[in-house]
Symmetry: C2
Subunit: 174 residues, 2 copies
Amino acid sequence: MDTTNKLIAAAERLFDRHGFVATGMDRLTEAAGMSSRTLYKHAGSKTQLMACILGERDRRFMARLDVGTVEALFKVLDDWIRIEGTRGCLFLRSNAETGGDTPEIAEAVRMHKTAFQNQVARIVATDLGHEDPEIAEQILVLFEGATHAAIYRGEGAVRAAQSAAATLIERARS
Amino acid sequence: MDTTNKLIAAAERLFDRHGFVATGMDRLTEAAGMSSRTLYKHAGSKTQLMACILGERDRRFMARLDVGTVEALFKVLDDWIRIEGTRGCLFLRSNAETGGDTPEIAEAVRMHKTAFQNQVARIVATDLGHEDPEIAEQILVLFEGATHAAIYRGEGAVRAAQSAAATLIERARS
DNA sequence: TGCTATGTAAAACGATCGTTTTATATATGG
DNA sequence: CCATATATAAAACGATCGTTTTACATAGCA
């Protein structure tokens, strides 16, 4: 694992577990096992590092989202939470922590959420056989809700979302 | 408006808009229009102030949640967002920013989410005429989802959640 | 052999963090 | 009228913030 990847992995983990602002660069250099000089050579600045981490997470998350049914969509979330843990949406958290005032971060969040929304709409269209923006928005809300309710309700929140989605899809089909 | 209330109002606003950790005490004293000595006399510490703000928000939010139908539940959220804005759940955000490591904050969040969950279950039971834990969990997920999806999707997310909830309730009734 | 790239360790930068202190001012009520 | 409570302004506390710098080590390649 090269230096950049070690840095990204450590940063994503610390930002996710302890928050972006609360995670200091000293803690980061220690966790990444590199000097601060090397860290800044690779990352540029903390803001750039945050934006980079969001880009990486977007890539990793969206790669998993390439499914064809709504049921599979919620299976993706279930797997994700099992592997990555359940601390809410890192994109919305980064935006909230910076008050939406950091352009590079706000832009990364906007890009991700747009891609996510489009992908959900595509999955719903594939599953139903035709586009349905209203159902797509409902499914998106269920996904976002499961992501955040799972923080305090556990995996049951994902199962509830999945079963609610099944009801909505079934009704939309007939 | 007395000193304590001025402090609470300013703190809730700044914490919500700019994040808990990123909001410094100097910025807070200025916004609250009081010296740091007075602030600490009233608040004790930043952690205590955060816990206090969460308690206040819980009181204010839960007071609005005293409704008898699921439709009214989402009307409450719609009103809330119109009045208070849409930056996600302040409780989950406070927990994420502190990594869940601050007992007073983690406890305030736990208390609020338990009360919220119970209230949703009660509303669903009232609306359906009988308890239904599975539907209640689905409605809770929809509410949490609307809260967070509204950040980037606007009020349409709340309407989508409300209409999805109506479908689920209607189906549960027959 | 020497240049370049890439790394480390450690100190230092000014700024800001949360918090406390010192020194006064101003009301209120017995 | 004088104590008490409650406020202010402003400086200072040590710690930590994000970032840069200085000085040095190692490896690959010309």
